[in-house]
Subunit: 249 residues, 2 copies
């Protein structure tokens, strides 16, 4: 990696974190201040858990999980892969809590489920996110898959991983639009502060997708292939047998 290009990377990562944390905070302020706060009682306060868990799990943590390979360029790739899988697992758990919140709210309020484009896109994204995580575990951690199969699967894992991240963001934008039209329909067209705040949240979500997408696709920032880039199962073995994986390289 040439030096001027490498010097820019931390700035883009810092920018992504500022935008990503703003997304989480603004979602919290929107639900906490304008929509009455949070609870787990089947009321609209339980619904409020849904957007917050989704932006934490399937947007912020997901984005950070796919950036770890750029953030930790000098650490053992095996360790970075395990970190990637752990962050995605935490994100998946937050996502499932967010889903339970909205389904429980609908059940308690006797609201119909799964009719909107937001719900269709969202359920597809979450199911594929779970499958993608399992496929990653099977292909890259368990020793059964051959190196040939791993090499074949890797570009698909990368492509679908980024695609699902972008689909999660698009679904969040749909959720913002639905929530505003349900909750403040008249005020929205009069540009009340809640509507402006939620629109700004939408733009920040787009900005987070753009920044993370740029960091993970810019070719000069890709981790150069090196001998440590072996099947994770080998490193996993190394990690459990030795004090430090680096001593093997």
């Amino acid at each position: 990696m040439d030096q001027p290009s490498r010097a820019q990377l931390p700035w883009f990562i810092a920018l992504s974190q500022v935008i990503g944390l703003s997304v989480v905070v603004i979602t919290g302020v929107w639900m906490g201040h304008y929509r009455g706060g949070f609870a787990w009682d089947g009321s609209s306060l339980e619904f409020n858990v849904h957007p917050l868990c989704m932006v934490i799990g399937i947007v912020f943590l997901y984005g950070d999980a796919i950036m770890v390979f750029r953030i930790f360029q000098n650490e053992s790739k095996a360790a970075v892969k395990i970190l990637h899988g752990i962050i995605q697992l935490i994100g998946l758990i937050a996502t499932i809590i967010g889903l339970v919140a909205v389904f429980e709210f609908h059940m308690e309020q006797k609201n119909p489920d799964m009719y909107s484009l937001h719900s269709w896109c969202g359920l597809i994204t979450v199911i594929l996110f779970g499958l993608q995580w399992l496929m990653g575990l099977v292909f890259f951690l368990f020793p059964g898959a051959s190196n040939w199969l791993r090499a074949k699967y890797k570009p698909l894992h990368v492509f679908f991983g980024l695609t699902l991240f972008l689909l999660a963001i698009a679904t969040a934008l749909l959720g913002i639009t639905e929530k505003l039209l349900f909750s403040i329909s008249d005020g929205y067209s009069k540009q009340v502060p809640e509507g402006i705040l939620a629109n700004v949240l939408g733009l920040l979500l787009v900005g987070f997708g753009l920044t993370v997408g740029y960091v993970v696709t810019r070719s000069e920032w890709k981790r150069p292939p090196n001998p440590e880039d072996e099947p994770l199962s080998m490193h996993f073995k190394t990690l459990t047998e030795c004090d430090s994986p680096d001593s093997q390289q």
Copy 2:
């Protein structure tokens, strides 16, 4: 390009065209059959021109324009670049007609403008689409830009080109959600056919983005660099001086 991989490319391009044309037809059916058809009279029939022009211009033609470099692998790159610019220009004109339709409709009906997330994302996307087209013209067609500058700008043109395409699709999904909640709010939750059709349209839009995104980013399908990959201005000169650009190669 290895043969098995190359053999798959036409199938993916065909799939993208089937999905892309379905998007245009279903938008036409939605607006034509369920929303009363098309007119240019300031009524809701003028609004109906908006979704149709947008999916033709900034989704279908835009997607095809970014795929031309994969579709025409053996043709002169100069000719393919000119085709790319022309398709994008036609798409941009369709997009502007679609924008005029919705602004005229709002003006006639005294509806407020530019308060929704759809409108914010849409206006940003269209302005950046116009700028991206102009930048492409200046950098790749006019002889003023140096080769160094062109090489520096190209990855940005590619990244922002794909980003704007995906943002256009996300904006279309927001438009679908808005239109359904405004026009059939109660029926939507009861899963009336119009709502199902529009949701299917949304999924097809996602499918179009996915297919085009896969075609243009799969590394084995990239056009290999070769001597004809020179500044377009040189080829433009060649095209105007000779019968066939291929005779120069």
